[in-house]
Amino acid sequence: MAKVTFTLNGESITVDEPLNMRFLDILRMKLGLTGSKEGCGEGECGACAVLIDGQLVNSCLLPLGSVEGRNVMTIEGYRKTKRYKILEDAFIEEGAVQCGICTPGMVMASESLLNQNPKPSEKEIRIALAGNLCRCTGYEMIFKAVKRAAKEGEGLW
């Protein structure tokens, strides 16, 4: 066990757990934040993705020891923002959500993209979402949702 201090959704937090615990498990089991999902557990699917210092990271491959001093945003924190609302509306409007397991990761990946590139091209959207698997939608609706969000939320990113 070791104490690790980081910022989680805007608030400083210290957890006392083994450093080799997966950050995904810390979020889900110790902190009750179950928005981040476990799909594959080996960095293939992106369902567990969170933002570390504003950029997308897979929490299933992140040991707790890597989070010391970092700024973490999960879907639970992100959903309180205006940007989230834009993305949520766009995902609903375009039918980009079916079973929903990939959705938190897709939303975080979209935020990470738009934060760095507010007006992404189709190709840039595809690159940004390349690490997030969806078995329902066939992706087209998700790409359209990101495009719609970029347009509707102009100025927010």
Partner: protein, 282 residues
């Protein structure tokens, strides 16, 4: 087993001097290799040093004759940095997805020493020099002299990679080709990186590196040197003998990703394609 987050790089070297620690940088390989059941800690087999918080090892600096890359600099940062060579970026954008690239590092790619590592392939192509340190000592070594086999390096238990140096070079054409199971998020079946500098029809610098066809990346500097200084057509007329020179070194294996027959065929096609088109700009 001990698990430690050092506060500084100096402190990290101090812990390493005990000789029992494994360094975890991004963790994208180590966390998969040592994966346990969900909701239980990763099953590391030795003391672990978690260095992800050492921001002092995150930098890209233009040093005039070379580019200095701090060991913890991630792929996404390299992709966005203007001084990073195009051929390296062409490779990095094909590695995994953004969420892995944000934590994945070249130094980790070296430490993991997979023959199929795309990042390492480019380090061979670009003549990367590694700055390796342990408490009170420092050495520099060419990438070829550090990686010795699958998962094997000359790094001792007390050492870690501090910096990667890429000597500046000018090329008239570069190429990175990766054959994988799908377009994104895939590990290479075979990978090829080539670079050439042609001046007034003369080949001044010729480099080819091939990944996932032997225990380490294959780069035959003596073959490259043999044809340096020749005209384009002289080099291209030698394509049969060039390919023959690679025969003893292209020895791929059958595994879950591909098989030796396919890998061999593709590797030789990539060599021929690069040589025969090296004078044609993209």
């Amino acid at each position: 087993m001990k698990h430690v987050i050092p506060k500084t790089y100096k402190e990290a070297l101090e812990h390493l001097s005990e000789g029992t620690y494994k360094v975890l940088a991004g963790g994208t390989d180590l966390m998969v290799k040592n994966r346990s059941w969900s909701e239980t800690p990763a099953r590391f087999k030795q003391d672990m040093l978690y260095i992800h918080n050492l921001d002092e090892l995150r930098y890209v600096e233009d040093k005039g004759d070379h580019l200095a890359i701090g060991a913890l600099t991630d792929y996404e940062t390299l992709l966005r940095h203007e001084a990073v060579p195009k051929v390296l970026k062409d490779c990095l954008i094909e590695i995994a997805g953004p969420a892995i690239r944000k934590v994945g590092t070249l130094a980790g790619n070296i430490g993991n020493a997979s023959p199929a590592a795309d990042g390492v392939l480019l380090l061979y192509l670009l003549d990367a020099q590694l700055v390796i340190e342990r408490k009170g000592a420092r050495r520099e070594a060419l990438i070829d002299d550090v990686i010795t086999g699958p998962g094997k390096t000359t790094l001792s238990n007390e050492e870690m990679i501090k910096e990667i140096r890429l000597p500046k070079s000018t090329f008239t054409k570069t190429q990175f080709l990766k054959v994988g199971g799908r377009k994104a998020d895939a590990i290479s079946k075979v990978a090829f990186a080539g670079a050439v500098r042609i001046e007034d029809g003369i080949v001044k610098d010729l480099r080819m590196a091939i990944g996932a066809v032997n225990v380490t990346v294959v780069r035959l500097r003596e073959v490259e040197k043999l044809h340096t200084g020749e005209t384009i057509s002289a080099v291209q007329d030698s394509i049969v003998s060039i390919k023959n020179a690679y025969v003893p070194h292209i020895k791929p294996i059958d595994d879950q990703r591909s098989n030796r027959v396919y890998r061999k065929r593709v590797a030789f096609n990539m060599i021929e394609d690069f040589i025969m088109n090296m004078h044609i700009q993209d």
